[in-house]
């Protein structure tokens, strides 16, 4: 009896079992492909390409917990990168360019939020429109030019080490870890996180308890824009150049990460730990498929399949349990009738 209680106390949170299972299977599969797959240095350096997705997913977790969605994150990223590139090409010091990119992201996120709130429109449609609009702005700004020649001091942020030596600890990973811890505390410990969850689970009753639901939703959109702006700076530093299709399609990956991490797409429920573990899982799946030399589109297909399975399997399991309970109750009732 006590041992059962103990194991329950130490059992995994249910939203983490799916992603963790995927993570473990992918690591085994990857290490079958190459003995260097689990080499700490290779793992740590592979994270570089996923940090932007991870940061976008962290901010999106808040938007989705609110019951909204932001499809435009990758386009905001592109537009911010374009503003940065244009300013740099005009001779602005790189620090100001980077700040302008972050600010642009913030403003574009605010625009999303304001349209959603002021006009009372569904965020799915609004951000579908701004997905096109912001990508369009990027294309108008950059046309088919490539902006490169960023200063040496700016390029290669992902190669910079916070802790040197073997296996090393690259700067983007540090940024991501710090960001996850901050977001974790905001969601779990701060008032603001509670407001998000309340808004997402029942917006009208939250409104009637005297909370400005609209400003909570607006702030989540602004946050998502701000983070997209920061990601624009990071991706420019990593790639060393800017073209108009930068970050194309990242929004789908970021949303997949959030949903895989157990955040309810209809709002009201979600965790930062889920998002982080889901990012690791997707990274492991991607890298293990790369090592097995599987086509990129098929990799995306595999991730799509995992997304569906992580939502579907718990549903099937609970349906089976429900069915069994119902049968048990039915049998009990019948035996009671028979006893009478």
């Amino acid at each position: 009896m006590t041992s059962a209680k103990k194991t329950r106390r130490f059992a995994l949170p249910s939203h983490l079992t799916g992603p963790l299972l995927i993570l473990i299977i992918a690591m085994i599969y990857g290490s079958l492909g190459s003995e260097y797959f689990l080499d700490p240095a290779s793992i740590i350096f592979n994270t570089g390409r996923y940090i932007e997705i991870g940061l976008l997913a962290l901010a999106l977790t808040f938007v989705i917990i609110n019951g909204d969605i932001d499809l435009s994150v990758a386009s905001i990223l592109a537009a911010s990168a374009a503003v940065m590139a244009k300013l740099f090409a005009a001779g602005t010091p790189i620090l100001w360019c980077a700040l302008a990119a972050v600010f642009t992201g913030f403003i574009l996120g605010m625009i999303n939020g304001l349209i959603v709130i002021k006009f009372g429109l569904p965020s799915l449609v609004v951000t579908l429109a701004t997905l096109a609009l912001y990508r369009g702005l990027t294309q108008v700004l950059l046309e088919d030019s490539v902006v490169a020649d960023y200063p040496e001091s700016f390029v290669g942020f992902d190669q910079r080490l916070v802790i040197g030596g073997y296996p090393g600890f690259p700067a983007p990973l540090a940024v991501f870890i710090v960001a996850s811890i901050i977001f974790y505390f905001i969601l779990r410990k701060a008032n603001y996180g509670l407001l998000n969850v309340m808004t997402g689970s029942n917006a009208s009753s939250t409104k009637f308890s005297g909370i400005n639901v609209n400003s909570v939703r607006l702030s989540a959109f602004a946050l998502s824009g701000l983070v997209s702006g920061i990601c624009a700076v990071m991706i420019t530093s990593r790639l060393g150049s800017t073209i108009s299709n930068v970050g194309l399609g990242l929004e789908l990956l970021a949303i997949t990460v959030v949903v895989l991490g157990g955040t309810d797409i209809f709002g009201g429920r979600g965790t930062i730990s889920g998002t982080v573990v889901a990012l690791l899982a997707i990274m492991a799946v991607r890298e293990s498929l790369v090592i097995q030399d599987i086509n990129g589109q098929v990799q995306d297909g595999a991730i799509g399949l995992l997304l569906i399975l992580t939502v579907l399997v718990p549903r099937i399991r609970s349906a089976i349990v429900d069915n069994r309970n119902r049968k048990k109750r039915f049998n009990e009732a019948q035996s009671q009738i028979a006893n009478h």
């Binding site: 609004v126 609009l133 799509g304 399949l305």
Partner: protein, 338 residues
């Protein structure tokens, strides 16, 4: 007096299709006067062919959105069915045209069935299920084709003829498009099935408590959008004669959903018409072609589409609010009269 003029305006505004129609005419006049080449037969043909593919898929997407769902996987479904059909045609050059079309329809229908089962019995929100299948079906295109594209000389002439030849003055491609729109219009406005689809969309709990099968209607709607996307695959092959695994139907979901939303279908379900969607498709086609012909940099195209969607939903929302206000006012007046 004042009341009369207000109701007159709102009657016109209520005819959502009329507003889009006026806007299309306006665009035609602007583009035509800026660049007479816009009205040349080959240009109009190019617009109509791309609009036709959009219309076929849009007709199905309208039904899906009416039932409060969304299908993000239409582009991949179109690509998958086009690829399956193309591969059959490459292996058997003498395969009859009707057989090829049927294969594409079945392939699309199977994709739709998978979506429908996930959404109905799997109880997965459609946006997540189809986000997943968007990637899965695209992966399937690569798996079946082994990343080899279908070249124009492997596509049978009979298929290509669908886009170029015509029994009457318009091509087969457009006939398919118009028939799809008319069919969806007929089903949604004249049949019991259509009433059920709209009932599920406007009040799912109510509809189910009146004895409608939510699961069956959801599956049916997804299968029909899949079949129509399969037909879209045939038309795509007819128009472009090349099936590249990475390009075929990529990003189509965005244009299709834009057209449906611009056409006045409520994204929260329950209302929307096939004719509205058809006009939305024409609007998108005219706009993107017109901008190019007039000489506006093609880089403005995405901006224009984005603004168009925003304007469409904002106007729609404004009209709906006004109607609600008027409705409340009428009730209040009645109460005070009593």
């Amino acid at each position: 007096m004042a009341k009369n003029s207000i109701s007159g305006v709102s009657v016109l505004l209520k005819k959502r299709e009329f507003g889009i129609f006026i806007f299309i005419v306006l665009l035609l006049v602007i583009f035509g006067s800026l660049e007479p080449r816009f009205f040349r037969a080959d240009n109009l043909n190019a617009i109509l062919s791309s609009v036709g593919i959009l219309m076929v898929v849009g007709a199905g997407q309208t039904l899906v959105i009416v039932t409060r769902n969304i299908d993000l996987s239409v582009g991949s479904t179109l690509g998958f069915s086009a690829m399956v059909m193309g591969m059959v045609a490459r292996e058997n050059p003498d395969f009859p045209l009707v057989g090829l079309i049927l294969i594409a329809l079945v392939a699309g229908g199977v994709c739709g069935l998978i979506n429908g089962l996930l959404v109905s019995y799997g109880k997965i929100p459609s946006i997540i299920a189809t986000l997943g299948t968007l990637a899965i079906f695209r992966g399937a295109v690569f798996l079946v084709s082994d990343n080899v594209q279908i070249d124009p000389n492997d596509v049978p002439q009979a298929v290509i003829n669908l886009a170029t030849t015509s029994p009457i003055r318009i091509s087969w491609l457009l006939i398919f498009a118009i028939v799809s729109i008319l069919l969806v219009h007929y089903i949604s406005s004249k049949t019991l099935l259509g009433k059920r689809i709209y009932a599920i969309g406007s009040n799912p709990e109510g509809a189910v408590s009146r004895g409608l099968s939510f699961d069956r209607i959801t599956i049916l709607v997804f299968v029909s959008v899949g079949v129509l996307a399969g037909l879209g695959g045939v038309l795509y092959t007819a128009r472009y004669a090349t099936i590249n695994p990475a390009d075929v139907g990529r990003g189509l979901e965005f244009d299709v959903i834009s057209a449906v939303v611009i056409g006045g279908t409520n994204i929260f379900g329950g209302s929307g018409t096939a004719f509205g969607t058809a006009l939305g498709c024409i609007l998108i086609g005219v706009l993107s072609n017109g901008l190019t012909v007039v000489g506006v940099s093609p880089f403005w195209k995405a901006c224009a589409t984005g603004l168009l969607i925003l304007a469409a939903v904002a106007i729609d929302n404004f009209v709906r609010r006004k109607q609600e206000e008027r409705f409340l006012l009428e009730i209040r007046n009645q109460r005070t009269a009593e």
